[in-house]
Amino acid sequence: MATTRTSFGRDYGLQTRMLLTMFLLGLLYVGFVGALFYAGASAVIMVVVIGGLMLSQLFLSDKLALRAMGAHEVSPEEAPGLHAMIERLCIQADLPKPKVAVADTEVPNAFAMGRSKKSAVVCATTGLMRSLEPAELEGVIAHELAHVKNRDVMIMTFASFFASIAAMMAQFAFFFGAGDDDSPAGIVVFLVSILVYAISFLLMLALSRYREFSADRGAALTTGRPSALASALVKVSGAIERAPQRDLRAAGEMNAFFIVPTSVKSGVRTLFSTHPPMEQRIARLQDLETQLQRGA
């Protein structure tokens, strides 16, 4: 379900909506399959149906995401600097050159999409290009290229595919397991499949966070400048967080009365996040810089 790979998902409003959408979408799959199942379809048909849904997602997601972001592909004449930067990074990362897109928005962000190295698209927003130094931008783009190299879109789509399969299996097993004594198995089946789905959903998010670390590391390896990426992360997260905070100032004063303390809240936040906390990413990049400074 996580088909777009954004680097800097600290826009919590957007992130929550995305998360909810992903969860509901998955639930829809499971519900749909369940309905098919009760209608008497065989397991094979259901696997085919889920597979079909996933495949269409894999093939359409890049176009959909580009459109959703209001991004358009740019030619080397339109964005010579960005193209030249990507060309050099591709030589360094040993990748074929992806398509290059730009989204005309002030929010600094970047993402990579595409099911394979050859069909990949790397997109940067105008806000990102404006607010970062060249070396920082290079780090962010290298991070996106690392996602392409690690085939993250493909991996995450398959991971969600198996999450759906797992939920389906739970339904299947319970139907046959409880079928003998004609107990009201329906509700149990429903609950268990939801549970299985919810757990696999959390695991998928964990996988996604792990792959962010991988991409950070990949970026540091390609550019040789982990600190430049770290500084880009600081700038970008600051820029994204500052905007919503102004609106929430009134609510912010109520913070002391919240039932969940900040630390626990951030723990929950971590569990439900597609991206690791910024501090952790920066700490790991700092480790890489230390290694580098010690000498190869």
Binding site: R88, C90, I91, Q92, P134, A135, E138, K149, L221, A296
Partner: protein, 189 residues
């Protein structure tokens, strides 16, 4: 990169520099000059990402001393400059083409021996025909050459490049994938 690497997040290591196929240019240059009428500009360059670490700077310094040491025999002049993309060029000037290839190899071997082979972007050899600049770019990671013929800003003469590949392909390890024959704009040669 294998399936398992992709599954495990890969990206741990960059592809190691390919075994040295750089020297193929020494013989290819003779063919380029005698049969195709391309004269070399007595210039070649190597471009890499400079690291801001003491170890890397020590290796660069050592390399520079090595180059200047041999310069008294070969007459190769050495300049270095950073470009607008943050990459460093070491530009070599020598009318003897073979000396250029040897000097490029000295630099790349030094960096590779120090564990910084990953930082190498490319080596570039400059030629010309009828006043038009023609470059041969060597990709260290893939151990392959490809011609690059820029015309004006952000445009390249692909037809000319393909023709050159057909003409010299037997003598040089040519980059086989079209999408990896990436341009290098503003070559200072």
């Amino acid at each position: 990169m294998g399936f398992l690497d992709a599954l495990l997040g890969g990206g741990r290591k960059l592809k190691a520099p390919a075994p040295d196929r750089l020297f193929a240019m020494t013989t290819a240059q003779v063919t380029l000059e005698l049969q195709l009428g391309l004269t070399h500009r007595s210039r070649a360059g190597i471009v890499f990402q400079p690291l801001a670490t003491a170890d890397f700077e020590a290796i660069l310094k050592e390399t520079n001393e090595l180059l200047h040491g041999s310069a008294s025999d070969t007459g190769t002049t050495v300049e270095s400059a950073d470009d607008e993309f943050g990459y460093r060029w070491i530009v070599l000037d020598d009318p003897d083409f073979e000396d250029l290839v040897v000097a490029i190899n000295t630099i790349s071997s030094q960096l590779q021996a120090g564990g910084y082979g990953d930082r190498l972007l490319a080596a570039v050899f400059a030629f010309e025909k009828d006043g038009k600049g023609i470059y041969f770019i060597y990709n260290f990671k893939r151990g392959s050459y490809y011609p690059f013929v820029p015309v004006g800003d952000q445009r390249r003469d692909t037809e000319h490049e393909l023709r050159l590949i057909a003409q010299i392909g037997a003598e040089l390890p040519i980059e086989s994938e079209l999408e990896r024959r990436l341009p290098l704009w503003k070559i200072p040669l």
